[in-house]
């Protein structure tokens, strides 16, 4: 039941940045996992919109502001590469996959400024643009150069983590598929509804909208420390299936009981099946 997200975008973006492209292709290849499991404990107090978590991966939150910035960065970079931008949902799936990798194989050290600058130069050469063009594109999206450098740093860290994963004998794609199936990944249902609607607010003028998925274009792979592009099979992407918001595994929860004490679903389940009846109102 896993969704296959087209690796098209990342393979195309990788013309000249094989390592990052292969990485991105791998991460974007695996779409959303099957069911959602949300272990709920104490209620989360209302938070400002920018800070609200739109997804949670094994307890690690992806905040709205972080995702929005990632979407805009993807659009800027694809625009500079002259390619269609990924859909905002594809960006979210990539962030989820990145977090799974980073969470399981934390990077031992952060990329240096030099490494990030070197990667930036490689990207600009691949895109055939100069620094000014990049800055201008970022400014149009309301982003700073620092934001792009941070994103590149994160990709480099993820790349290092993927190397660690492989060094331990795992196949990245298999490992990620297993993680998607077993990790506690929650996507806020309201936010999912938002994702389904037109991506209009996030598309920058002049950026091509995501096109229907096709088979990936083979990418030349210049020298790269880690070439994952060969890992990406040339498959045709299946049309995205709607993700059900009704969970298959009952999210656990604890709520205060009137009169004192708390009710925890898991504790009650130990005694037998539980019928949850959601009411519109308690008065009738």
């Amino acid at each position: 039941m896993s969704r296959r997200v087209s690796p098209r975008f990342w393979i195309i973006l990788g013309l000249g940045v094989a390592a990052i492209a292969g990485l991105g292709a791998l991460l974007a290849l695996l779409g959303s996992g099957p069911g959602l499991v949300a272990p709920l404990h104490t209620p989360i107090p209302p938070t400002p919109p920018e800070d609200r978590a739109v997804a949670s991966i094994n307890g690690h939150s992806i905040r709205y502001a972080f995702w929005t910035e990632a979407v805009l960065l993807d659009q800027v970079m694809s625009g500079l590469a002259g390619q269609p931008a990924p859909a905002p949902e594809e960006t979210l799936q990539r962030l989820i996959n990145e977090q799974l990798v980073l969470g399981a194989f934390p990077p031992q050290e952060n990329p240096t400024t030099e490494q990030i600058e070197a990667q930036m130069t490689t990207l600009e050469q691949a895109w055939g643009v100069d620094d000014d063009a990049v800055t201008e594109a970022l400014e149009r999206a309301g982003l700073t150069r620092a934001a792009l450098e941070q994103a590149i740093g994160r990709l480099l860290k993820t790349q290092a983590s993927l190397r660690a994963l492989q060094d331990q004998g795992y196949d990245p794609m298999t490992w990620l598929e297993e993680q998607r199936a077993s990790a506690k990944i929650v996507i806020d249902p309201e936010f999912q509804g938002q994702l389904k609607s037109a991506a209009a607010p996030y598309i920058l003028p002049g950026v091509q909208s995501p096109v229907a998925t096709e088979s990936p274009i083979p990418t030349p792979t210049p020298e790269a420390p880690l070439s994952l592009s060969t890992v990406v099979p040339a498959t045709k992407a299946a049309p995205p299936t709607p993700v059900p918001t009704i969970p298959e595994i009952a999210p656990d929860f604890t709520l205060d009981q009137p009169g004192g004490g708390t009710f925890t679903l898991a504790d009650q389940l130990a005694q037998g099946p539980v019928v949850l009846v959601f009411l519109r109102s308690g008065g009738g």
Partner: protein, 93 residues
């Protein structure tokens, strides 16, 4: 549901009502009504959202719905709406 509650208990199941409301409101309802099964206040909407039933009617409340949770934690049956207690009983695992 109250009429059927004994039958659910005899079948080894617990019935729990959830409503997006304050704990105070729920306490008031419980005191004023004849309901003997637990009613919980999902004030923060977290549970309703987790089960995918929050705001389906665009009223900031949970949509009336029923979930039968099997002891192993999986959702054995669910229905968005107000199925009869008889129907729910018939779907118990």
């Amino acid at each position: 549901m109250q009429d059927y509650y004994t039958r659910f208990q005899e079948a080894g199941a617990e019935v729990v009502a959830l409503v997006v409301a304050s704990l105070e409101s729920v306490e008031g309802w419980c005191q004023r009504s004849a309901i003997t099964y637990p009613m919980l206040a999902d004030f923060e909407r977290q549970v309703s959202k987790a089960y995918g039933v929050y705001n389906l009617e665009n009223n900031g409340l949970a949509a009336p719905s029923v979930f039968i949770i099997a002891p192993d934690g999986h959702v054995a049956w669910s229905e968005i709406g107000e199925p009869s207690a008889q129907t729910i009983l018939e779907h118990l695992p």
